[in-house]
C-alpha cells in the first residue's frame, strides 16, 4: 500500500495481562499441530492502520472511543514505520488491496457516528507475537503460510528476525 508513512498511525490493541487469550492459545495449538515445538506462547493483537485526514489526538480519540474495550484490553498508538522496542518476533497480517474489509468499513461508519467529519481511512489486521526459542525465518514463513495468512487475499510482514 502506497501511503506516506508519516501520516499513518498504527493502533495496536491487545488483551490486558492476566486474561485468558483464547485466540492466542488456539494459534499456539495449531502451530504445535504443524510439528513446530519451539513456541511457548503467542500473543495476538488487533491492529488498525489509521490514515487520511488525521492527527495523533484524533487517532487517540477514535481508538479510545471506538476500537478499544477498556475493561479487557489495552492499546498502543505509534506512527507507521516507527521503531518499536520489542525483543520478540512478530508477524502482521493485512488484507491485500482490493479485498473488501468489512471490519474497516464498519469502523469508518463508526467514526462518522462519533460525529467526526474528517475523511479517515482504516485498514484492519492482526499482529502475532511469538515467545519461544529455536525459531528461524523459515519456520516463521511456514507458520505464516500454513496458519496465519491466506496469501490469495492477505499479505504478511515478519519483524524481529
Amino acid at each position: 500500500m502506497k501511503i506516506k508513512s508519516e501520516n499513518v498511525y498504527v493502533v495496536e490493541i491487545g488483551l490486558r495481562k492476566g486474561l485468558f487469550d483464547a485466540f492466542g492459545n488456539e494459534v499456539a495449538h495449531s502451530i504445535r499441530e504443524l510439528g513446530i515445538n519451539g513456541i511457548d506462547r503467542v500473543d495476538v493483537y488487533d491492529v488498525y492502520r489509521v490514515y487520511g485526514d488525521v492527527n495523533f489526538s484524533l487517532v487517540r480519540r477514535i481508538a479510545k472511543d471506538l476500537l478499544l474495550d477498556p475493561v479487557a484490553q489495552t492499546m498502543k498508538i505509534y506512527r507507521c514505520g516507527e521503531k518499536q522496542k520489542s525483543s520478540c518476533i512478530s508477524v502482521e497480517v493485512w488484507y491485500k488491496q482490493g479485498v473488501t474489509d468489512p471490519v474497516a468499513m464498519t469502523a469508518i461508519k463508526g467514526i462518522k457516528d462519533l460525529g467526526i467529519k474528517n475523511e479517515v481511512k482504516i485498514n484492519c489486521g492482526k499482529k502475532y507475537e511469538f515467545h519461544g526459542s529455536k525459531l528461524n525465518r523459515e519456520l516463521i514463513e511456514m507458520i505464516c503460510t500454513k496458519i496465519l495468512a491466506n496469501t490469495l487475499i492477505q499479505d504478511y510482514i515478519i519483524r524481529g528476525i
Partner: protein, 791 residues
C-alpha cells in the same frame, strides 16, 4: 472516464473466438461463441465487453445448468447383461417427473423460485433452499463459507416476496484431519485449516445474523483432499400472500444493501470450471453479516407493507443475473452510474457482473418508492434506484450518457440447442465381504472414534442454535446434553404448537458402489431422521444437491445420471416430492503431473416435514431403566460402503438396498406411535449400524442396555452384519412396558422385535446365541465418541 470496449467478433475466425473466450475468462464454448457471432452479425455490429460478459454469465453452467438441461444418452452395463442404452430428456426432467407424479397439494412453488415453498398452516408457508459454496471455501475457507451461508440466506429473502430466515443447516465434506502435510499438493490447504476456517465462517455469519444453525453433518474421506464440499441451507417463513411475485412494467429497479466493488468478478464462470493454480484475488470475498442483517430487517417491514412487486438476490452473475432474471419477461433500462460503488474507476462491465455480497434487487412501483426509502433509511440500508422495468423485451444498459449494452432478452434466455451428452455406467461386481476374527469391543470403540461417526459437539456448540427461541428438539439432547439428535424440531409461530422438522441424508460411500442405491439410501436416511424425531413421512418434502466431479467425462456423467434416476425412482416410491435442488459440477483438481482427481460423487438429501404438535416428538436418548428396546426393520448381509469395512480398509461389498414399501410402512406406523406417546426414545440405524445406534442412545442418558442379537429381525445370522451392518429402514426404539400391547399391535405385520432392555448400569451388554459378545463400559464409549474430533 470508464467506458465500454467494443470486441471485434463478427469477422473473427474460430481460433480467434476461442481465444476471446479464454482470455476474457468467459468459459464459453465455440458453439456458443458462434451463436453470439450470428446474433451480432444480424444486428450489424460488434458486442461490447459488457454484453459478452452478460451472455457468459447467463449461459454459464452455474446459472444455466447446461448439464442438467441437456439430453443424455445413457449406456448402462448392469451385471453380466449386455449394454442397454436409453435416452433421457434431461436430468432435471427426471427429478421433475417425481414431483409431478407425487402431486402433493401442499407443494406451493417448486423448482421455479429461489427456493422450494410448501404450506405450513392456513396463513403461512415455509421455504427451504440448500446451496453449495465449494470452490470459494477451498480457496479461502473463512470467507468462502461465510459468503456461502450469506448467499443462501439471500435466496430465502428473495423467495416469493421474501421469507424470514428461521434456520440454517450446514453439511461439510473434508479429507481426514490427520492427513500428513507431505501428502498435500502445493497450494492446497491442510484439511484441518479448511475445517476450522469453514466452521468459523459459518459460525460468525449465522450467529451474527441471528439465525439458529441447528442441523447438519460433517464427513471425512480422502476423496475430498483437493476439493472440499460446503453445503449451506436456510429455511424461511413467509405469509401465504407473499408467495408470488411479478415485475410490472413501469416499476423502478432498486438495488439495496452492500456497495458494488471488484469482488467476485467471474464467480459464476469460475465456479463452472475446475480448480487450477493462479486464481485471481477477486474471486474470494469476506462476508459482512451486519449489512445483511439490516437488509433483512428492512425487507421484512417493506414486504408487510407491500412496497415492492418482485425481489431477487444478487448471487452469481451479480446485477446482470438479478436484473436480467427479473426483466426476463418484460424488459429494463438500467443506468450503471447510479449503482453505489465501493471505490471509483470500475468499468461498466465490472459493475454489471460484480458479485459483491449482501445486495438485492427490488421491483418497486414508483408510488411506493418514498415509503420504501423511509424504511431503508430507518434501518440504515443503502439503496439506489438504477433504472426502470419496461415492456420492450430488451435489456438496455447505460453508463452516464453512453449506451454500453443492449440485448434481446428472449434470445438471451431462450432454450438453446444443447448437444446430446453421452454417459456410460458400468456396474461394479459386488460380492459380500466379511472380515474374520473381529474383536467386537475394539471395533465398537474404533467406530465410535471414527470422525464420521464421532460427536461433532465441538463444532455444533460454536453455532447458536437457540437464537429466535423456537428450537424444540436441539442438536444435542439427553440429561447430559450430549446425545446427538437425528434432526431438529422448530416451533416457529409464537403461541402455536405447529412445527417443522428438518434433517438430512448423505453417504458418498454407497455412491462409490452404486449411485442409484446411494440416492435411495440417502432419501431413506433423511426420512428416517425426520420420522425418528417426530416428523410425518407423508408431509415431508426433500431437496437434492449433487456435487460431482469432471462432468465431460462420460463415466462421471454416467454415475450422475444413474444417481438422478435413483432420486426419481425412490422419491416416487417413498412418496416424497422434490421441491428444490442445485448441482455443483466439475469438482476436480488437476495435479501438477497433469492427472485429474474428481471428488466422490456426493448427493445430499435435505428433508423438511410439517407436524401438528411439537410436543409429540421424541429425542434419541434412553429415558428409564427397565424399558424395552425394539428394533424395527430387517437386517441383511449388506456391509458394502459401511464404516465397519472402512476401518478394516476393505473396499467393495454389497451396497445396502432400500425397501421403500416396508420402510415407508414402518415410518408411517412409527409416526403414529410417537404421536400417541408410545415411544420413549427413538434413533435410526445409519453409519455404524445397530451397535452405534444403541451406543448413541446410551451416551447422554447415563443408562445402559442389554440386547440379544438373535432376536433382531434379520435374514442373516452373521454377527458383524447384525452389529455393524447398515441395512436401510431400521430404527431402535425404547418402549415403556405399559405401552407394549398398543405398540406391538401397530407393528403386527412388520419386521419388529423386542431385542432387550434399558439397564441401570452404564454398560452395553450384547449377547448372541447364548454368548456374551460385548460388555463395554459406557464411560469409555462416551470418551471415545466425544473426544475423537479436536478443534
Amino acid at each position: 472516464m470508464a467506458q465500454a470496449t467494443i470486441i471485434e467478433i463478427c469477422h473473427a475466425t474460430d481460433t480467434r473466438l476461442i481465444e476471446i473466450s479464454k482470455k476474457g475468462l468467459l468459459s464459453l464454448t465455440l458453439d456458443e461463441m458462434k451463436r453470439i457471432q450470428r446474433y451480432f452479425l444480424s444486428a450489424g455490429r460488434n458486442p461490447t465487453d459488457l454484453e459478452l460478459e452478460m451472455i457468459a454469465q447467463t449461459w454459464s453452467e452455474h446459472c444455466f445448468h447446461k448439464t442438467f438441461k441437456s439430453r443424455i444418452q445413457l449406456t448402462e452395463i448392469l451385471d453380466s447383461d449386455s449394454p442397454v442404452t436409453e435416452e433421457i430428456p434431461s436430468l432435471f426432467a427426471l427429478i421433475r417427473q417425481a414431483t409431478d407424479n407425487i402431486k402433493k397439494n401442499w407443494c406451493i412453488s417448486v423448482f421455479k423460485d429461489n427456493a422450494g415453498i410448501i404450506r405450513f398452516d392456513r396463513d403461512n408457508c415455509v421455504c427451504f433452499k440448500v446451496e453449495t459454496h465449494n470452490h470459494p471455501s477451498a480457496l479461502e475457507p473463512y470467507g468462502g463459507a461465510g459468503t456461502g451461508i450469506g448467499g443462501v440466506i439471500r435466496d430465502i429473502l428473495g423467495a416469493g416476496l421474501g421469507a424470514k430466515p428461521i434456520l440454517n443447516t450446514d453439511i461439510f465434506c473434508f479429507a481426514p484431519l490427520d492427513t500428513r502435510h507431505e501428502e498435500l499438493e502445493e497450494d492446497i490447504f491442510h484439511p484441518r485449516r479448511l475445517f476450522k476456517g469453514v466452521v468459523s465462517g459459518v459460525r460468525d455469519y449465522g450467529n451474527r445474523m441471528g439465525i439458529p444453525t441447528a442441523n447438519g453433518a460433517i464427513l471425512f474421506d480422502p476423496g475430498y483432499l483437493h476439493n472440499i464440499l460446503v453445503y449451506c441451507g436456510t429455511v424461511g417463513m413467509m405469509p401465504r400472500s407473499a408467495v408470488n411475485k411479478k415485475v410490472r412494467s413501469g416499476d423502478l429497479v432498486v438495488v439495496i444493501g452492500g456497495r458494488t466493488g471488484r469482488d467476485g468478478i467471474h464467480g459464476a464462470t469460475f465456479s463452472s470450471a475446475s480448480l487450477e493454480k493462479d486464481i485471481p484475488t477477486s474471486v474470494v470475498q469476506i462476508g459482512n453479516p451486519i449489512v445483511e442483517k439490516k437488509m433483512l430487517d428492512a425487507l421484512m417491514m417493506a414486504r408487510d407493507e407491500n412496497l415492492y412487486s418482485a425481489i431477487t438476490d444478487c448471487g452469481a452473475g451479480g446485477l446482470s443475473s438479478a436484473v436480467g432474471e427479473l426483466a426476463q419477461h418484460c424488459g429494463a433500462k438500467v443506468h450503471l452510474d447510479k449503482v453505489p460503488l465501493k471505490y471509483k474507476d470500475l468499468k461498466p462491465w465490472e459493475i454489471w457482473v460484480s458479485e459483491s455480497q449482501e445486495r438485492m434487487v427490488l421491483s418497486v412501483p414508483p408510488s411506493k418508492f418514498n415509503r420504501l426509502k423511509e424504511i431503508l433509511e430507518s434501518e440504515d440500508v443503502e439503496y439506489a434506484c438504477i433504472g426502470t422495468f419496461n415492456s420492450t423485451g430488451k435489456i438496455t444498459i447505460y453508463h452516464e450518457k453512453d449506451l454500453v449494452g443492449e440485448l434481446d432478452l428472449d434470445w438471451l434466455f431462450q432454450k438453446k440447442d444443447l448437444p446430446v451428452l453421452k454417459a456410460l455406467y458400468e456396474k461394479r461386481e459386488t460380492t459380500n465381504i466379511i472380515p474374520e476374527n473381529v474383536n467386537f469391543e475394539d471395533t465398537l470403540l474404533q467406530l465410535l472414534a471414527d470422525p464420521n461417526i464421532a460427536s461433532k459437539e465441538i463444532v455444533v456448540r460454536q453455532y447458536d442454535h437457540e437464537v429466535q427461541g423456537h428450537t424444540i428438539i436441539k442438536p444435542f439432547g439427553g440429561v447430559d446434553g450430549c446425545s446427538a439428535s437425528d434432526g431438529v424440531v422448530l416451533a416457529p409461530v409464537y403461541g402455536s404448537n405447529r412445527g417443522i422438522v428438518v434433517s438430512c441424508g448423505i453417504n458418498p460411500w454407497y455412491g462409490m458402489l452404486d449411485p442409484y442405491y446411494m440416492a435411495g439410501n440417502c432419501i431413506d436416511e433423511a426420512l428416517r431422521n425426520i420420522v425418528a424425531c417426530g416428523g410425518n413421512p407423508d408431509r415431508t418434502a426433500i431437496l437434492d444437491n449433487f456435487c460431482w466431479g469432471k462432468i465431460d467425462d462420460p463415466v462421471e456423467l454416467g454415475k450422475l445420471t444413474r444417481c438422478v434416476k435413483g432420486c426419481r425412482d425412490y422419491a416416487i416410491a417413498y412418496n416424497v416430492p422434490f421441491i428444490s435442488g442445485k448441482d455443483s459440477l466439475n469438482n476436480y483438481f488437476t495435479k501438477s503431473d497433469g492427472s485429474i482427481v474428481s471428488i466422490p460423487g456426493t448427493l445430499l438429501i435435505s428433508a423438511i416435514s410439517i407436524i401438528d404438535d411439537v410436543q409429540k416428538t421424541t429425542g434419541s436418548d434412553f429415558k428409564e431403566a427397565g424399558n424395552l428396546i425394539y428394533v424395527l426393520g430387517e437386517t441383511f448381509d449388506e456391509l458394502g460402503g459401511s464404516r465397519f469395512l472402512s476401518i478394516f480398509n476393505l473396499e467393495g461389498g454389497r451396497c445396502p438396498v432400500p425397501n421403500p414399501e416396508i420402510s415407508l410402512a414402518i415410518m408411517r406406523n412409527l409416526h403414529q406411535a410417537i404421536k400417541n406417546n408410545l415411544i420413549m426414545s427413538c434413533h435410526d440405524c445409519s453409519e455404524g449400524g445397530f451397535a452405534i445406534a444403541i451406543a448413541e442412545m446410551m451416551i447422554g442418558s447415563g443408562y445402559g442396555a442389554e440386547v440379544y442379537l438373535d432376536r433382531m429381525p434379520a435374514t442373516t445370522e452373521e454377527t458383524v452384519s447384525l452389529l455393524f451392518g447398515e441395512s436401510q429402514g431400521r430404527f431402535v426404539v425404547e418402549v415403556d412396558e405399559a405401552c407394549v400391547e398398543k405398540f406391538e399391535k401397530l407393528f403386527k405385520n412388520l419386521p419388529c422385535k423386542q431385542v432387550g432392555r434399558v439397564i441401570p448400569d452404564f454398560r452395553l451388554k450384547v449377547n448372541h446365541r447364548d454368548n456374551m459378545l460385548l460388555d463395554v463400559d459406557g464411560e469409555m464409549m462416551r470418551q471415545r465418541w466425544s473426544g475423537a474430533i479436536s478443534w
